[in-house]
């Protein structure tokens, strides 16, 4: 080895960085484009503004914060080349469990008469933990038995929905304490969503957890040979996704002041769509929380915009489906470009 000492890198003047468009640039443009389109159509069709209506914007964010929590979880799962189809059902199960421990004693037919008037922390913790447990089962199944994540979480999707219905024989759980429902009031869910997004943005970028998540997604064999405990890491990633589904369930129950087994129906698909629209690659190794957040907002703006324009709900779904497919096609195209570069 040559013995010349290299100048300490810190003292080297910052090399001129080539200008790179932030990865979220293109998707942000799409968001702006869609918003402007709705604004123009708004004036043309309804003679009213779409964007400059604070009330509407807040509703968009509020509606999307629940999907957003699921999307943050599934983004991390997809980065590892996995998928989580169970988030919507796990949300429902967690909502039911949380609600059943948040009932007031005024209600004669409480699910657990001896567990009424509990401090709000009890239902919140139980709801979140139930979600975490479901995620743990997903992760353990995938890591230990090597079954495809699609199958494992499909099983959990059906099972969790069944448990949510079985729990009260399909009856909604209502009359919840004010202390609990406070967590669903106002903009609390939005605040929770923003905090969670910030936490996982930092976790993916600056922690070992994040580095290993990307490594596993980029090349699982190489990750294993680099000394990463791939199995344990997968269990952690799926558990986190489960915890976030649980949290979303708690907030949903608190907001609705009841637990219903049909909550969160098909939310997992919106969550996956948001992640994919936001640039998370189903091939793994690529994806960022900022992109997912923008993807969530795009979905919200579309839903709100269609309603604003009075477009039929069925047509909305048709367009939404097309946009999701377009996002994946764009992803394939990006990958091909990367390969030939």
């Amino acid at each position: 080895m040559n013995t010349t000492t290299h100048p300490a890198p810190a003292s080297v003047p910052e090399e001129r960085k080539r200008f790179k468009m932030p990865q979220e640039g293109s998707i942000l443009l799409v968001l702006v484009g869609i918003a402007v389109l709705f604004e123009i159509l708004g004036w043309a069709v309804r003679g009213d503004t779409f964007l400059f209506n604070a009330q509407r914007l807040l509703i968009i964010v509020l509606q999307m914060s629940i999907i957003g929590l699921l999307a943050i979880g599934v983004t991390q799962v997809i980065i590892t080349t996995g998928i989580d189809l169970s988030s919507g059902s796990v949300l429902a199960l967690s909502a039911m469990i949380a609600a059943s421990f948040a009932q007031t004693s005024d209600y004669a037919r409480a699910v657990f008469p001896m567990f009424t008037d509990m401090p709000a922390v009890v239902p919140i913790l139980l709801g979140v933990l139930a979600g975490g447990l479901a995620g743990l089962v997903n992760g353990a199944l995938i890591a230990r038995t090597m079954i495809p994540p699609f199958i494992a979480t499909l099983g959990m999707m059906v099972t969790a929905r069944g448990l949510a219905r079985w729990y009260t024989d399909g009856q909604p759980v209502s009359l919840l304490s004010d202390e609990f429902t406070w967590f669903g009031s106002g903009y609390i869910p939005v605040v929770v969503f923003i905090v969670v997004a910030a936490i996982f943005h930092i976790a993916l970028k600056y922690t070992r957890y994040g580095k290993f998540t990307y490594a596993i997604g980029a090349n699982m064999n190489a990750a294993r040979v680099s000394g990463i405990n791939v199995n344990r890491h997968l269990v952690i990633v799926y558990s986190i996704a489960g915890l976030l589904s649980g949290l979303a369930g708690v907030l949903t129950a608190a907001r609705a002041a009841s637990g219903q087994a049909g909550m969160g129906m098909a939310y997992e698909l919106d969550a996956i769509a948001a992640a994919v629209i936001g640039g998370t690659s189903l091939a793994g190794g690529v994806g960022r929380i900022t992109g997912t957040v923008i993807g969530v907002i795009i979905l919200g703006v579309m839903t709100s915009g269609f309603t604003f324009l009075g477009i039929d709900a069925y047509v909305q779904d048709v367009v939404k489906g097309a946009i999701i497919v377009a996002a994946v096609v764009a992803d394939q195209y990006r990958q091909k470009k990367r390969k030939t570069a």
Partner: protein
Amino acid sequence: MLAETAERVEAAKPHGQVSPHSQQETDRQYIFEARNIRKEFPGVVALDNVELKVSPGRVLALMGENGAGKSTLMKIISGVYTPDAGSLSLRGQPYNIKGPLDALEQGVAMIHQELNLMPFMTVAENIWIRREPLNSFGFVDHQRMYQQTQELFETLKIELDPRAEVRDLSVANRQMVEIAKAVSYDSEVLIMDEPTSALTEREVERLFSIIADLKAKGTGIVYITHKMDEVFTIADDIAVFRDGQHIGTDLASKLDREALIKMMVGREITQMFPKEEAEIGETVLAVKNLGLDGYFKDVSFELRAGEILGLAGLVGAGRTNLAETLFGVTPATQGTIELHGQEVVISQPHQAMEQGVALLTEDRKETGCFLQLSVLQNMEMAVLTDSYVEKGFVQQQQVNELCEEMKQLLKIKTPDLDETIGNLSGGNQQKALIARWLMTKPRILILDEPTRGIDVGAKAEIHRLISSLAAKGLAVLMISSELPEILGMSDRVMVMHEGTVTGILERNEATQVAVMKLASA
């Protein structure tokens, strides 16, 4: 600098001390000819002006070390690759094919080394795929298909049930199905790429008698093999390739083992391998009777600090399996591993890493690079498993400094460390992966084909690096299929053949011929 090294290597390459062509070629008819074929891959010339002439009713054995270009040429003939230059002709007519199916239709069939059967379909369905007999409604006539298969098997004297599903067959029987399928095309040229590697003795005899029948029918056969005994039993002519060049073709009866090995390895070692004198220290790794069921057994050797132990052998000798077992990817089923005098159990890579072992894997794409990630992320991943992390947070500043240092030391050419590693050349990717392991400060470095598929300039730099690391006291186990690399770099050479160690040679006794003899045992 790069060009200079390349020139030096080029100049040092001998141009064959054996006469390149046989004398009888003038009065022979060829059914298939390939002339002046050239094929380049990024950074490597796989075939350089080679030729191949196949005569009807004769077996032409094609021999050469790993990477000599045999498989590339066969892939050109069977239509998988298109050559960059040169011409091919069949029956004297130009042979231009668009793909493997086209080759079959024109009368050139190939038995692949890797099996290409569909496991969930029956033997008969696999053989007649795309040529299924149809009934008058246009549906597949299974009855007739099974009957055809039965007839085919009877002429070939293969005892297999045409209705059996392929997944239920042994590897040897699957190979026999492949052979039957290739024969069923009645092609004029039949290429066999190491057909006996999966066969037992009885089936090899069967195959040889099938070959004899085909010869009598006038089929021209190209037979690729590593096995010396086989060549002299079956071949009429032998062609030898080396480093993408055609070294010579001669009658099998005119050659013997010794002469053949010389043709295969006859190279000089150039100054490409600047072996530094290193002080050999104490034993750091001692392996006793190590075995992995189905791959290798009874492997015993010692590795000392400052030593480079070369590990030579042909593809399939079990070298990579041994490396992976030492690193805990596939835990051993027998035997013991002692590291620094302590017996250890290694069943996970991180256990090996804790003991100061590092493994640069053979396949950069499959088990090395995180292709979508940056150079920096590729370099830092292994070291993060047990250092530079505080409460879960990566101490990025320190890691960046270390990576920057490594980049300078290994002369990794990249615009910056945030560049996606997939955009780098193979040589620079390899350097980044070596950096990944050097950052873990290993005491034992296992390198599996450290210079495969990279250009000569980067190759020389990596050789220099390995040599200087050993001089600093690192113990190196280096697997390579390139004999000059093994001989030029190693203090000792261990040779494996079919899962066993056939010999360990000291530097002064390790010659190309000696190593090849042990490798083909």
